[in-house]
Amino acid sequence: MALTEVQVSSSAVVADETAPTRTRAWLRKLHIGVPAGLLLLIFFACFVLPLVAPIPKPTGGDILNSLQPAFTPGHILGTDDNGNDILARILVGGRTSLFVALTVNLLGLVIGGGLGALAAQAGGIVDSIIMRLFDVLIAIPSLALIVAVSLSLGPGVRNTILTLSFFSVPAFARISRAETLRLREQPFMVAARLSGTSTWRIVVRHLAPNIGPQLMTFAMLGLGIVMVIEGALSFLGLGIRPPAPSWGNMIFQGQLSLSGTPMLVVWPSIALFLTVVGFNQLGEAVRLRWSGR
């Protein structure tokens, strides 16, 4: 039985290796390369471009200069109703949105991933307490939870990050726990347990390298999700408050005059869409590559 399984799997590997021709290998690289390139471009535009290019300040614009159309000299995407340059606000708002998304996912990855692995590894009462706590957080509709947390913490970048972590930590914990449970009975894990390795050392040295890829893939997809939710929070008038720009609050402010000046909504929406597509596609490509092995 075991022998046939080995034969089947080895023949499958051989078939898989002969199948990709040159163009396929090239296409596969493209699947990762295109979204990665797009994201690099967006990061460069948001974090580096405003430092080196002559881009106006995102706030404190001249009200007499408001609502200029796109391609006005000096304002490529025009100005908003306060006379601020839209491109500058998108780039600087992008910094905030990207920073929030990255930090929230990093927190989720480290805290949620750690707690999930710990819960599965420790089992018993520790597992029950940790996971029931996360069940409670997951049972509350996410938007209601983050609106309530956001109102009690107040506005600002740091508080927005804390608020959104309420959403990301339980999600990471669930995945990390499920992966850990799957690995628990693997020979190397049993060996580590039987030879008296401490729980902490097992989590760090044996589990983390094995569940890391899955969690990283989820983080990639999570970046897109968090960007959208951060937008929703700012859209409801919480999260990042004007005049400081974020894509969400730009969409919200533009929405107030949707029929008159629709481009105020369209530009930040395009930026949000491209970034989320980038993260989703990269996550998908990385997931396929890892699951293919």
Partner: protein, 338 residues
Amino acid sequence: MSDVATTSPAPRVFSAVLGSPALRLIVKRLLTAIPILLGVSILMFVLLNLIPGSAALQLLGPEATPEQIARLEHDMGLDRPPVERYLEWLWNALQGDLGRSLVSRQPVTDVLPTRLAVTGELVALAFLISLTVAIPLALLAARRPNRFLDRVSMVVSTAGLSVANYVLALLLVLLFAVKLGWFPAIGYTPVSKGLGDNLYSLALPAFAMAFPLLCFYTRFLRGDLVDQMQGEDYVMTARAKGLGPWQVLLRHAFRNSSFGLITIVGLNISGLIGATVIIESIFSLPGIGQYLLQGILTRDYIVVQAIVIIFAIITVLANLMADVLYAVLDPRIRYGTN
């Protein structure tokens, strides 16, 4: 055999019912739901108490004197200790009394049914739209993988998954309400004024909610169908039997893939109800999501508690229903556990 013959019918039925894995699953899950619901109500209560400003302050506005605020807070019972207020709320809620809104003074149980009906209709429409488009599209795409229709539907659905629902909602309003004037931008027409007008007023919000789901279901179902068609023995058997490609796809592969789809639909229910918070406030629909947002913004903890508990119950029930349906429908699981 002899065991069956000697036991009287009544206990046999009894033990068969209790012993059925589906029922055990239901009972077990309902029991674990109790501490979760308690936790949800406690957490929301604590969070709402942490928010600066009380319902009295929100109601009277910034011009009110401290004495006026204190008087109203006393009338609302907000000057009592939080633990006492929570326990009172819990005691009443267990008896089916969810209390009176602090702001409008109406009993919450009077307001909820009409609000729930609006949201329920919106969510049902969103599921209806997404499934009626996604299933045929996925079948057509999976019939000829990597051909034109498959490629187009995959590109569109990949893009569709990356659109935030509020952005989609605004773009729909911009195109179909502002530019073309085909649909109303905001507002809700109740069913009492005619089903046609009612559906007409819900068309844009329902589509804004359905589109991401539609993309997700198309991708999921197409992927699952292609896997089934390529790798499963029963598909080869059906083909060898001489069934046409559509028959294999519909009667064999789709039947199998539909189990996974049902589970996913069940898991999406809670997310979709959460999405109504933002969609209903964009379109000014008098649903439960908008009521919840108002409740939080006015610190009306009675309203918020009631809605969040209802959301949590729906989430628990929907997940449970998905699991049970999955277990009942899929013969491999149905017989495997017995």
